[in-house]
Structure formats: C-alpha cells, structure tokens
C-alpha cells in the first residue's frame, strides 16, 4: 500500500538516468521510483499510485532477445497494457497510468498534442498523457492530483442503492449539500452522463468514473466551468477576471470545485453555483450583464472590465483551441468537433476562421453553412 502522506509515482523509462532535473522537481512532491522496463517488480506496482510510462522504448536488450513477439511490448502503450493487467491481478486497487513522451505529436494526428491530453489518453486506454521535459509545474500538479484521486476513489461501490451512490458521488465531487443549488448540480451531473448506473466490478467502476472526469468533464464546459467560461458568463474580460480572482475569492468560494481532481486543469466552478450567485447578486436579473458586473464590482471592491460584445461566445481555432478573446455570435458559426460531448455548452468558431481552414469548416453543421457562403 502506498505511503499515505506522499503520492508514490513509478516512472518506467528505457533511459532511467535521463531527465534528472525534471525528476528532482517531481521528488519534491512525490516518492519517485524510476525503473527500466526490465527492472519493474511487483512491489513497485503495488506501491504506486501513478505509473508513468515512456512512449518510445528502444533501449531494451532483453526484449529484443525474447523469442515470442507477444513478449515484446513495442512501445510504452503496449507496456502500459501489460503493467495495468499485472497490477490489477496483484491487488484490486486503482492506479492511474500516464504516458509521458517527447513524441506525443506522433499520436495526435497532426494536432498539437497539448492541451489535448484527454483525447490522446481516451484513445489509448490511459488516464492521461503528458509531454516529456516540459512545463514541470503543470505536470507535477496533474500527477499529484491523479495520485490523490486514485486514493480517494472507493474500493467498493454501492449496488442497487441510488441514494448511496448519489451520496458517494457527491462526496467525491465535494458537492456541498447545504446549498440551495445542490439539487440542480446533481441534475447537471446526471445530464453529463455520470457513469454510475452500469453494472461493473468495483475497480472498473472507479476507473470509468475517474476517466469520465478526466476525459469528458474537465476539458469541456459543462457542469463545471473554467475561468474563461466564468468570465464569459459574467460578461467580463478574461484577463480582468484573472486579475481580480483573489478579490472575488469570497464570492466564488461556495461555487469553487474542490472535489476529486480539483485543479487538475486549473480552477473550476460549479455552473449552477455561479448561476445562483448571480441570481442573488442581481436580485433576480441574471441576464443583465451590467447589473452582474456592477454588483460584483460594488460588493467586492473589484474592477471587472466589461465585454462589449452583444452576444459573446468562445470561439475555437483550427486546432480546437480557444481564441484569446471571445467573438460575437453574430459573426460566428457553431462547430461540432468529434470529441465534443453533447451535454457540453455549444462550441463555436468565427466565420472567418471556418472559411480559412477547411478542416474547421468541415465541423460546421449543415444549418450554419449558409453563413460561410456569403
């Protein structure tokens, strides 16, 4: 069993001595064991919360000498599958598997691999994927968050007991049940297809739940909103919100997500909590952007700058990354990226970008295509 105080991370790399500065950074937060694939032992797997596997594995003589092709995991993806099954055969406890590589672009079909770790991970039966040797702080935070999550997820899920399941999920997501909007938040969770109704064994149930959060919830605007979505809802400039977040902390505290994997991709807020807050602040006029901003500025002594667009929407570029500034919906069209969940808020792009990039234009649904012809 893992040390309760520090997350335990097993790093499997065919060049275990490479990347020492990065590993030194990790060691400040985790208990890290770095192994060559040939040296991975059962006790390493048992102890680990998160198992990080290198993608390109070339330096492995014993593999080359193996007589059977089935004994030669060709890369980190193949090795991950082997290690996952080995781990689960030893002990029924969830571990998170993360692919770490300087070659993620090979797996991402021409798109920039980051921040699309969720798509790569979902496509390759992983919890997450991270680049090698980059943005150490973000990666450390994510692995730390994953380690805490696998410890938090239950070894046993309720069977045929909806109230018990609901209670468990509410605790995992730290949904405050004393607030007026908790019923709506639960409704939103269910509408986002929380995987809690399928008959699965406990370990698989926990893994599916973890991946739902990682791959389907945090990357998309649904019942949790990131700071860009929050700024859009408040009708204020994102930079101005970020500058004033500290001043708004008290106002937003009740709505800030503090559950499993909190801060994995940055701060998140409960959508229904924000709506309830705006309702209270504006005395029932939540659709009035001026009233919203003025109430926040006055009550919390901040200086939020208004978005001057009439119908602001967040638009995506040809790599399905959000543009720095919102666009007006009047000059935009809807898009339907392959991975975009039906329960998430609508995705948009500007008409200009849709015309310039055929791959983006191809995502525009039929009814909106007429706007690209003019």
């Amino acid at each position: 069993m893992a040390n309760e105080s520090r997350p335990v991370v097993l790093v499997v790399d065919d060049h275990p001595d490479d990347g020492r500065p990065e590993m030194d950074e990790w060691r400040r937060v985790f208990s890290v064991t770095i192994c060559h694939p040939q040296d991975v032992r059962q006790d390493h797997l048992v102890a680990a919360d998160v198992i990080v596997v290198d993608y390109v594995i070339e330096n492995w003589d014993e593999r080359e000498r193996a007589s059977s092709i089935a004994l030669r995991p060709i890369n980190g993806l193949a090795l991950t599958a082997v290690l996952r099954q080995q781990t689960e055969s030893i002990e029924s406890r969830l571990r998170a598997f993360v692919l770490r590589s300087g070659h993620l672009a090979k797996l991402s079909g021409g798109f920039p691999p980051q921040p699309r770790g969720h798509i790569l991970a979902a496509a390759h039966d992983l919890e997450w994927a991270v680049p090698k040797g980059e943005r150490a702080t973000d990666i450390v935070r994510q692995i730390d968050s994953l380690a805490l999550a696998v410890r938090l997820l239950p070894g046993k899920w309720p069977v045929d007991d909806f109230e018990a399941t609901r209670g468990l999920v509410e605790r995992l997501l730290a949904l405050p049940n004393s607030v007026r909007w908790s019923g709506q938040a639960w409704n939103d969770i269910q509408n986002a297809h929380a995987p809690i109704h399928s008959p699965l064994d406990d370990l698989t149930q926990s893994r599916v739940f973890l991946r739902w959060l990682l791959h389907r919830i945090f990357p998309y605007p649904c019942f949790l909103w990131d700071s860009e979505r929050l700024a859009l809802r408040l009708r204020v400039r994102h930079q101005s919100l970020q500058r004033n977040l500290e001043g708004l902390r008290a106002a937003l505290a009740e709505s800030e997500y503090s559950g499993c994997l909190k801060n994995f991709l940055g701060l998140r807020w409960w959508r229904s909590g924000i709506e309830a807050l705006l309702w209270d602040l504006t005395k029932g006029e939540p659709t009035n952007p001026d009233a919203t901003r003025e109430a926040l500025n006055k009550k919390f002594g901040v200086e939020l700058q208004p978005l001057t667009l009439k119908n602001p929407v967040i638009c995506f570029d040809e790599n399905i990354q959000p543009l720095a500034e919102p666009c007006d919906a009047d000059g935009s069209v809807r898009i339907e990226p392959d991975d975009w969940p039906a329960f998430a808020d609508q995705a948009w792009t500007s008409r200009k970008l849709a015309k310039e990039h055929p791959s983006l234009g191809a995502l525009v649904p039929q009814p909106d295509r007429e706007y690209l012809e003019t």
Binding site: N177, G183, A276, T287
Partner: protein, 249 residues
C-alpha cells in the same frame, strides 16, 4: 394559486424546440436557449413562493432565419424578407412545497406578467418592424380570453393604433409558452418548409409532439367543458372562463 406548469415539461419543450426548429433559427438561438434553460434551472432552486422573472431578454432575442417571402403558401413568394424576433417575460414562482436542496421543485405557478412578444422585422435583425403582437396568459381581472393574443399595445406605447391604454382586443390563442409562440412564428414565416419539416417523424419531433399534444388536449378539453357546462352565448362563456390551476399538470 394561479395557473401551474411542470418545470420538466418546459425543459423538455425548450430542448425539443431547439432540436426541431434549429434549421429555421439563427445560430445565436443556441445561446438564447441555453440562457432560458439556465434561468429556469436557477428558479427551480429558489424557495417555494419566491417570485422570479423568466425571460428572453430584449437585449438578447431569439431570431429566426430570414424568410425570403416564404410566408406565402403554395410556392408563392411574398414581397418582404422577414426575420421573426421573440422575446418573453414570465413572472413565476416555485410552487412545490415539498422541494428542498436535494429534491428539485416539480412545479411553478404564474404570478404576474406572462407575455411573449413577437416582432416581424424587415430584412435584418435591426430592420423595420413590420408587425408586432403578444401571446399571453391573462392576469386576474383582465378583459377577454384567458389565453390570448394582443396586437401591439406594449407597455410604453402611447400612440395609435393599439396604444397600451387600449387593453382590447384579446384574441383567443392556443399558443402561449415561449416555445409554442416560436413554433407559431416559424410556421408563419416558413409556410411550406415548416409544414414539410413538422410532419417528419424524427425523435425530436415526436418528443415535441408528445408535449404539445398533452397540453393542447387539456386546453381543448377544457374549452369543450366550458361550452357544455354554461348557458347563453358559448363565446361569452369562453371569454369569461378561467381554467383550474392544474390544467396542465
């Protein structure tokens, strides 16, 4: 207590309206629907009896696509290029005494203004107003039919025809929720194409139909009962009748 509705019926109505009418609406409608849903969700979480305003704001209306004279039937083309604009205000309050933080309110009651404004605009969303009416549910003591349409007459209109001070006529109506008003407008602006679209048996259309069928049947049954159970002029009876609060529950 005034007329009541199920929250869930209105959510379903918005969802199916969004899906069925999407080809006839401007892309911005997506965000208007989302707003409308979120407001209703928030109101559902408010305390029992707390008054709230549920609206499609005039600053962010629901717009149809441009109808290039398609308001004429049988392949004829009208003179005007028209966009329909829908805004609405329903003053409502949660009316389910059993609701709490964990159990959402099932019903709400009307408690004031219940009005959907329709404007027909020439050529663009900022074009000249070609026509304007409101589809409403009457408040206590108002003249005319309970479910009705009024031409012009909005608050603040002081000039003829139909200044605000003239509270008649109130023409009988079968459509009064924002979404049924929307269907009415779409059906008017796109006579042929909506008719063809609306007979399709898609999931969304079937969903829409199931909600509308239930409500219309309740309404028409009630109209029949009013006529059967009263003497004198049937029209007079219909005009004066006020349905029981749970007609649509």
């Amino acid at each position: 207590m005034a007329q009541q509705f199920r929250f869930e019926d209105l959510f379903k109505e918005i969802k199916s309206a969004e899906e069925t009418m999407d080809p006839f609406l401007q892309p911005t409608a997506t965000e208007v629907f989302a707003d409308l849903r979120r407001q209703l969700e928030t109101i559902r979480s408010r305390p029992f009896g707390e008054k709230a305003r549920w609206e499609i704001a005039k600053t962010r209306p629901l717009f149809t696509r441009l109808s290039e004279g398609l308001y004429e039937p049988k392949g004829r083309k009208g003179k005007h290029k028209v966009i329909g604009e829908i805004t609405s205000v329903w003053e409502i309050m949660p009316s389910d005494p059993k609701a709490n933080n964990r159990t959402l309110a099932r019903t709400f009651a009307l408690c004031g203004l219940t009005s959907v404004r329709v404007r027909l605009l020439e050529g663009s969303t900022s074009g000249q107003v070609l026509g304007e009416w409101r589809m409403e549910i009457a408040s206590d003591g108002a003249p005319g039919c309970f479910f009705h349409i009024q031409v012009l007459g909005e608050d603040g209109r002081n000039v003829p025809p139909f200044p605000h001070s003239l509270s008649i006529p109130r023409l009988p109506s079968l459509a009064f929720t924002p979404m049924t008003a929307l269907e009415f407008v779409v059906g008017e602006l796109f006579q042929e194409s909506w008719r063809e679209h609306a007979v399709q048996e898609t999931n969304a259309m079937n969903f829409w139909r199931s909600i509308q069928e239930k409500r219309l049947m309740a309404l028409l049954d009630w109209y029949q009962q009013v006529i059967k159970s009263t003497g004198g002029s049937p029209w007079n009876a219909l005009k004066a009748a006020v349905p029981q609060e749970g007609l649509f529950l």
